[in-house]
Amino acid sequence: MTDRPVADLEQRRAAIRPDGSFLVQAPAGSGKTELLIQRYLQLLAVVEEPEEIVAITFTRKAAGEMRGRILTALERVDTAAAPADEAARQTLALAAAAMARNRERGWQLEDSPGRLRIQTIDSLCGALTRQMPVLSRFGAQPEIVEDPGELYRQAAADTLAELEGGAGWSEAIAVLLGHLDNDLPRVRDMLAEMLARRDQWLRHVAGEIRRDALEAALRHAISATLEAVRGALPPDCGIELAALLDYAAANLARDGREAPAGACRGLTDLPPAEAAALAQWRGVAALLLKSDGEWRQAPNARDGFPAAGGGKAEAETRRAMKDRFKGLSVRLQEEEGLQLRLQAVRRLPPAAYTDAEWQVVQALCEMLKLAYAQLRLLFSERNQIDFTGVAQAAVQALGGEDRPTDLALSLDYRIRHILVDEFQDISINQYNLLERLTAGWSPGDGHSLFLVGDPMQSIYRFREAEVGLYLNTLDRQRLGQAPVTPLNITVNFRSRAAIVDWVNRTFARVLPAFPDPGRGAVNYTPAEAFQDQPPGGEVTLHPLIGRDDEREAAIVLEQIRAAREADPNGTIAVLVRSRPHLQAVVPRLKQAGLRFRAVEIEPLGTQPPIQDLMALTRALHHFADRIAWLAILRAPWCGLCLSDRPP
């Protein structure tokens, strides 16, 4: 990087102002971490104690890296020559100011780097619960279980054991078991899965479950989808569409055929976007789209458009109607987004529960509550907790909206500034936590909130993240009560122009055109290449017909060789969709003598030595494990053959 102004410099400058709160959308390669570091350093220069700044990263690794870079920046203050590039120069200047503050206040940061509170949200929650043991209801910190699957299963099994308990819930369990084929292990596993996601449903089942409220929600969801379809249909085609549907419905009725369009008898214009008209909208969708979701080109008798038979006039009409359909269909196919929305109509649930369904829903809610209680009991018995439990306890400790906890009394340092990285991956629990931590903050009172993220990267759906929370924050320009100013940084320093352009072109088509917080849909925001990037760099597609891992691996190897020839010191990354796609690549890389770094790529458990060790362990663990004992005899250290079997 050399000294050239960056196109979004204004936004970057704004983002480090310590008196402002921001939501920064920062795409991949935009120097997001540098921005976080700069802001952190800037804040250090204005706080009383370093603990007043809390930076939240998504992983411990990211926390470690950020801390490392900040400390390095601070260390360099006295030694480094002025760097050439603008960003590094600014970082150095900010670090110098922070160091001055460090000396002035006697923080001894250079010897107490632990005072920099850069941590994951899990560790923040842990710290909060440790400082407020009674408020968080932990009393003492339980052991945090990284893989609580076994606890969930046990709690679910304990729940099912209540079948004979005789309490009110026994009936609920019986209803649910009856509904699910009395298959205990399956119901247990389903409950266990629900317990893992309890942050998403707990607040919904906590109160009274009311059928009318839930059905109103269903109707609301339905009409929202219908609204969207209605909006996507050109207004002037309503009458024509209605006429075609009415025609189809009449034919279906006459021929005694069942099809969704049958509900559209007598239609004269588009049906209203209400749940009551769902059947008619299903008719619309079924006529326009085939069952695979593609546009219908030519309807037939099953759809209410019989072949041109019958009398002459009749045949004429039938042909004409088919032509009118084609005409309309061709027009509608031009409408952007219409097809997706019609598909959504087909997936809509009915607007009301049957009585039997409602009974099951009620039983399920009852059981979820019971399962949660069993889980708490188990946590208490074993003195363990999961991350969700810690987050819940932290939120609990911070108090409700009406009665917030006085943090000044409970925390060792007042939290004045919060920075959150990867904000798009925040979960509802974590969002609530931030809401409570920032309760009562107002602009200009010395607090600040800094959220950085890229909603386009939220597709990984990591640990129940909800990008909708990001979008809502953006939409309302505040998190809870704390206002945030949206900023957009767009310059990509990492990739060359050709790649940025390709990604801009491609992903604009991959992602939907409009964001939709309810569904977690995000549209694409284009990036700009940093103008000083050297030219070159391009995206090449190597299509293969059918899945052919070996051929694919050969191409990968070829590309790597070419790249190394062109630039022997360059770094090369190979990305795959999932681990199995590397099965063919890794051996080839090894064969070619290429050294590479791959994390958790080769499964250890299936390596023959590990299999032998497991057999040995199993055999010692259980004398009656015949497979394991036989496997030991066949292992290399013993080497019996099949033919060595005694007669």
Binding site: P133, V134, D406, L409, D412, D549, Q611, H622, I627
Partner: protein
């Protein structure tokens, strides 16, 4: 050899150490010095740790005053627990018992810093208010009953000392105290005022030693390096004293033990006790000290067999009665674990005699008796560590008995809970002979003297340790009194001091840190900055014996896919599953039907697929026995069918219920009956859709010989049609498709086998698919249309076109001939000993349990298997 004389008190002087370990070390040092002077007997020096000294003073006091009773820490803990549990805060707490420990820490901190609870000007938060309410009750309780807790004891002793006239008493020398608390200072000052001389000593610094800083790839490599370094130093001079300090010692015990054993005692076999090792590890409490070790060698096999039977029985939880019933059911006297059975009987009998409520003293007796009846610790000779563990257990029982003071009457469950808690918190240090290498935590290292010292784990994040203020004490108060861990600057100062002391305690000091933790890079502690990094590893690395053995092995690659052929007329002992396995993977058939390779069953709640299948088979069997034919089904009144259904379901369920009373609870039974009823009603509708038939056999067991191979068959059902043709039916409660019968390697050739071995004319074969959802109903092939609902004339199917030889005979005949040829090939393969590991597809391996035996992962097929496994 260290000869620091300060470790040895003179005549009439008491040496008080900060830790037990240090006291032991000083006694050893003294003994060594005496031996070197050629003495064979000498007066014991007065060396003891602080706690023991206090205890002694307390006893001296108690001889004069009987006003106060000193509580044992566990009694205190139970008292706190009771107080917290009775407080209004308890209900919401996840784990009230654990709160006691944290509250006791707060109590101790406040006492040690001589801070009231709380000074009048203190602003309290929610947590501090809760603590204050507990502490008030605790104080009251102690005052009223004349109890004194461990932390208050010092104040009492100090008050006593201050109030008394000066008296005799030798000098006191304190060793290893990093900082004296205000409470300690007050007591010592009071003693000084009475004329006793108190001297605080520190280790004499090994001046001139410059530490070396050493980074290692990760925490594991760090430990390994320390172990190799210790070995190298010992090799230079076996008389050296070597200290290894590992801050998180207690969480990494196993790993540390392994590495040091590997380096310092490579010839030892794992798991033979720690007694004879050339190093010793400081203990941090022995979790589960009373863990049962079963060495009833001669019964091992019988017990394993019993376990297999229990798994087969399939109940997740068992009561003692069922357990005894099943254990006694093993055929043959030799097959039964006699000792175990006897112990069970004795335990069960004794359990019946137990009182509902009793005092701790009585429970201690009952529990010891129960353990003895169950055969613990058993007759085997215990090694030294085990012997000491049993001793510690007795001590734990004593502690439990001491609860009498605070818990008068409790039930067995509560007694066991207490004992668990006591055992878990029991910190006992087995006496090991003085070893040249001492491995310890940070606290154990203060003021010990070593020739060489290695301090591990000095990473940026752990050193200085982060501030951890006690949540029950207002922070301002903690900071004002500089309570440990209250704030970053205090932690930093303490860390600096500790490091200084460590540096002074040995001639050579290595300070090490891990550079990575998994994917995360770590940095060294900033306190290491003044020191230079350097190499510490010995020039020649230790021989890696495991690698040498491995390198010495000459691996030979060979193909092992042929077993000896089967003798003529051999009974495979297997059923038709043999054909399925032979078809899907010949090795699997060999393993299962010739080696009888099976793993113990996994047990789960409710009904497993196997039981569900058995139940349904039986219900249908009984039902068709009564119905006989479709005609009967048609003519019977709805109510009669309903009654029949109810009867056969009741009959079947009752049979299973008797065997598994624990699973078949009342509601479960009702649910299962309702499920079966619904399923069967829907199924009868399917039966009505068929062409008329009469059921001629249900669950028909036959031994047949096919191509020289004897197999046991069990046909679910055979129906006869009006024209005399037979339809062979197999009930399926899982997935099923006719495709499983087709091809060179059919996935499930059971029905084809029945079809080609029936003498009568077979007109159709079908799966009766009893799984709800898509595909419920008959899935089959039939000679003519109309035999099975939805099944066309075979000649018209797509499958018919693929069957070879059609044209000369009817395509149905050709299909049967094709099946016969395929099955004959499979039978021949099995008889000839074909045992190739040749899964038909990666899916074939998915639910196979033979991977360890077939060694599939050594082949390309195994790699593909993995690739397919987690897409």
């Amino acid at each position: 050899m260290n000869k620091n004389s300060f470790h040895v008190p003179g005549e009439g002087v008491t040496l008080i150490t900060a830790s037990r370990r240090l006291a032991r070390y000083c006694r050893h040092a003294h003994a060594r010095a005496q031996l070197e002077r050629g003495r064979r007997a000498w007066p014991s020096p007065d060396i003891l740790p602080w706690q023991a000294w206090l205890q002694r003073r307390w006893e001296e006091r108690a001889a004069e005053h009987a006003d106060l009773l000193l509580l044992h820490p566990y009694q205190e803990q139970v008292l706190w627990q009771q107080i917290i549990a009775a407080s209004p805060w308890a209900e919401a707490l996840l784990h009230p018992a654990n709160v006691a420990q944290r509250a006791m820490q707060a109590w101790a901190l406040l006492r040690r810093h001589r801070v009231a609870i709380f000074p009048p000007d203190t602003v309290l938060n929610h947590d501090a208010r809760a603590f204050k309410s507990w502490a008030d009750v605790f104080e009251d309780a102690c005052r009223q009953r004349g109890w004194c807790d461990t932390e208050t004891m010092l104040d009492v002793l100090a008050d006593d000392a201050a109030g008394r006239a000066p008296g005799p008493g030798g000098d006191l020398v304190l060793l290893g105290f990093e900082r004296l608390t205000p409470q300690q200072q007050r007591l010592l000052a009071a003693l000084e005022a009475r004329g006793r001389k108190v001297v605080q000593k520190r280790s004499e610094g090994k001046s001139g030693s410059v530490p070396v800083v050493s980074g290692h790839a990760d925490a594991g490599a760090e430990i390994r390096a320390a172990a190799e370094w210790a070995r190298a130093r010992l090799e230079e001079d076996a008389g050296r004293r070597i200290g290894i300090v590992i801050p998180d010692l207690h969480v990494r015990r196993g790993e540390i033990l392994r590495q040091f054993e590997d380096c310092l005692a490579p010839g030892r076999l794992a798991g033979t006790g720690e007694a004879a090792l050339p190093f010793s590890l400081q203990r941090q409490g022995d979790r589960g000290g009373a863990r049962r070790r079963d060495r009833e060698e001669e019964e091992r096999v019988q017990r394993a067999r019993l376990d297999a039977r229990l798994r087969d029985y399939g109940e997740v939880r068992l009561d003692l009665r069922s357990l005894r019933r099943i254990a006694a059911g093993e055929p043959g006297e030799d097959g039964r674990p006699r000792r175990f059975l006897d112990a069970l009987a004795a335990v069960e009998e004794y359990l019946h005699q137990l009182p509902r409520q009793a005092a701790p003293l009585a429970w201690a007796g009952h529990i010891s008796r129960l353990l003895a009846l169950a055969g613990w610790p058993g007759g085997r000779e215990l090694d030294s560590g085990e012997y000491q563990t049993v001793g510690a257990w007795r001590e734990a029982l004593d502690r439990f008995v001491s609860l009498q003071l605070v818990e008068r009457s409790l039930d067995l469950a509560a007694a066991v809970r207490h004992l668990r808690r006591i055992a878990a918190g029991f910190s006992f240090q087995p006496q090991t002979p003085e070893t040249p290498v001492q491995i310890m935590g940070l606290a154990g290292a203060a003021d010990m003297a070593f020739d060489h010292l290695w301090v591990a784990g000095l990473g940026e994040e752990s050193w200085p340790p982060p501030a951890q203020p006690n949540p029950y004490i207002p922070l301002a108060l903690q900071r004002r009194h500089a309570m440990p861990g209250a704030a970053a600057d205090l932690c930093l100062a303490e860390a600096r001091e500790t490091l200084e002391r460590l540096l002074a305690s040995a001639g050579e000091v290595v300070l090490s840190y891990p550079q990575n933790e998994g994917e995360r890079g770590l940095r060294p502690s900033p306190l290491l900055r003044p020191f230079a990094s350097g190499p510490v590893a010995p020039a020649a690395p230790l021989p890696d014996y495991a690698a040498q053995i491995l390198a010495g092995a000459e691996l030979q690659a060979f193909t092992d896919d042929r077993a000896p052929p089967l003798a003529d007329g051999h009974r495979s002992g297997g059923g038709t599953g043999l054909f399925r396995d032979q078809s899907v993977c010949p090795f699997r058939a060999f393993a299962r039907y010739r080696l009888h390779a099976a793993a113990p069953e996994e047990v789960d709640i409710g009904l497993g697929p196997r039981d569900r299948g058995l139940i349904l088979h039986r219900v249908l069997h009984l039902l068709w026995q009564r119905l006989g034919s479709q005609e009967r089904l048609e003519v019977l009144e709805e109510s009669a069918i309903e009654a029949m259904l109810a009867a056969v379901i009741d009959d079947t369920v009752e049979r299973f219920r008797r065997r598994h009373p624990l699973t078949w609870t009342a509601r479960f039974t009702a649910l299962e009956k309702a499920r079966l009823n619904g399923l069967l009603r829907d199924w009868l509708a399917e039966e009505r859709r068929r062409a008329p038939f009469e059921v001629i056999a249900c669950e028909l067991e036959q031994d047949i010989v096919f191509e020289g191979l004897a197999v046991r068959t069990r046909l679910d059902r055979i129906d006869r049609l009006a024209d005399g043709g037979e339809v062979i039916i197999d009930y399926k409660t899982g997935e099923a498709s006719v495709n499983e019968w087709l091809g060179e390697r059919p996935d499930d050739p059971q029905l084809p086998l029945y079809a080609v071995t029936r003498e009568a004319q077979v007109a159709g074969v079908a799966f009766a698919r009893l799984k709800r959802g898509r595909g419920f109903g008959y899935q089959g092939l039939a000679r003519d249309a109309g035999i099975l609902p939805g099944t066309e004339d075979f000649a018209a199917t797509r499958i018919a076109a693929q069957v070879a030889g059609a044209g000369e005979v009817s395509s149905w005949e050709a299909l049967l001939a094709d099946w016969r040829a395929t099955l004959a090939r499979l039978a021949r393969g099995f008889c000839e000993g074909d045992a190739r590991v040749d899964p038909k597809s990666p899916q074939s391996c998915r639910y196979c349990d033979q991977h360890a035996l077939c060694r599939i992962h050594e082949t390309r097929a195994g790699a593909r298997l993995e690739a397919d496994g987690d897409d």
